[in-house]
């Protein structure tokens, strides 16, 4: 009996050590947040969305209006990437870190789906539902990616998804205004809050 206990003791100790290491790893990953979400960058994106709305309103055809927003999305993506890179560098955060990877991996699929659906709907001539779909999928991406970030980020995702739902239900009415409220208004409101509360 004593011998049996002596043999099993180190194995028990090792499994306890492994359990402790697992506990440390899990605690660390739970505590890390993607804090490089750029508040001021989002304010910049919001401002560019307001300008895009003013330009889009001058266009007669829906396709021309949406083309303005496609161009705006490319500009916003560039602005966002630059702002994330600058904030991460300033705060000494690694964008290759597991939590950053998780943030982008959760954000990316709805964005890719949005791009593909835009192409498909454009080809099918069903342009009225595109703004609502953009807002809904952007909100979904921000919400899922935001699970690894500070609290206002998933909240912003929910707000976008809710607005997207409303836009889809009210299509084809007020589509430009929905885009303005989401990409302009929400980015300005949440961006200012994040910038003030989470260091830029």
């Amino acid at each position: 009996m004593k011998l049996k206990r002596a043999i099993s003791a180190p194995v028990g100790l090792a499994s306890q050590a492994q359990d402790n290491l697992r506990f440390i790893r899990e605690t660390m990953s739970r505590s890390v947040q993607f804090t490089a979400v750029p508040g001021w960058g989002m304010v910049g994106i919001g401002c560019s969305a307001v300008l895009a709305y003013l330009v889009a309103r001058q266009q007669g055809a829906t396709s021309a209006q949406l083309a303005v927003w496609v161009a705006e999305s490319l500009l916003a993506a560039s602005l966002g990437a630059l702002a994330i890179f600058r904030k991460a560098r300033r705060e000494g955060l690694l964008l290759s870190h597991a939590v950053s990877r998780r943030f982008f991996l959760n954000l990316a699929p709805p964005m890719v789906a949005g791009g593909l659906l835009t192409a498909a709907l454009w080809k099918a001539g069903n342009l009225q539902v595109i703004p609502g779909m953009w807002l809904l999928l952007y909100g979904t991406g921000v919400f899922t990616g935001g699970a690894f970030s500070v609290k206002p980020v998933p909240m912003m995702g929910l707000a976008f998804a809710g607005l997207g739902g409303l836009a889809l239900l009210s299509a084809p009415l007020f589509q430009q205004e929905f885009l303005l409220a989401g990409f302009g208004g929400f980015h300005l409101i949440f961006g200012t809050y994040i910038a003030r509360q989470y260091g830029g």
Binding site: L13, A14, A17, Q18, L21, I24, T27, S31, E91
Partner: protein, 126 residues
């Protein structure tokens, strides 16, 4: 002989990252750092090791701890010099911020090395 034996016993304890406030420091060979080993304190140190700082409420949320339990263990780590605590007011609301110190990081590293050594020793023995 006795002195030599004491010296031999003390060395592995320091390797294990023990701290001066540990009650049994230097009394047993390769003894675990009891201050770090307790689950809640290990969780506090692990959380603070991967962030610049965490507030009391953030720590409480991450670790799903009660106010009393968290503050008790945080105070022990603070007394040992493993973490530092800053109390401030944010919009007139009191806020407590915790950061890990160099000694705390060293203690956690020592604890991790200790755990890895145990696993490797078992693998080598089996």
């Amino acid at each position: 002989m006795a002195a030599k034996s004491r010296a031999r016993r003390a060395a592995p304890t320091e390797m294990g990252g023990s701290h001066r406030s540990e009650p049994q420091a230097g009394t047993k060979p390769a003894r675990l750092n009891a201050l770090v080993h307790a689950r809640m304190r290990l969780a506090i140190l692990s959380s603070l090791a991967v962030t610049r700082e965490l507030s009391f409420s953030e720590l409480k949320r991450h670790l799903e701890a009660s106010d009393g339990n968290l503050s008790l263990h945080a105070r022990k780590l603070e007394e040992a010099g493993y973490i530092e605590c800053e109390k401030l007011f944010e919009k007139r609301i009191p806020k407590t911020i915790y950061r890990i110190t160099a000694a705390g990081r060293q203690a956690l590293d020592g604890y991790l090395s200790h755990m890895e050594a145990i696993i490797q020793a078992t693998r080598a023995g089996s």
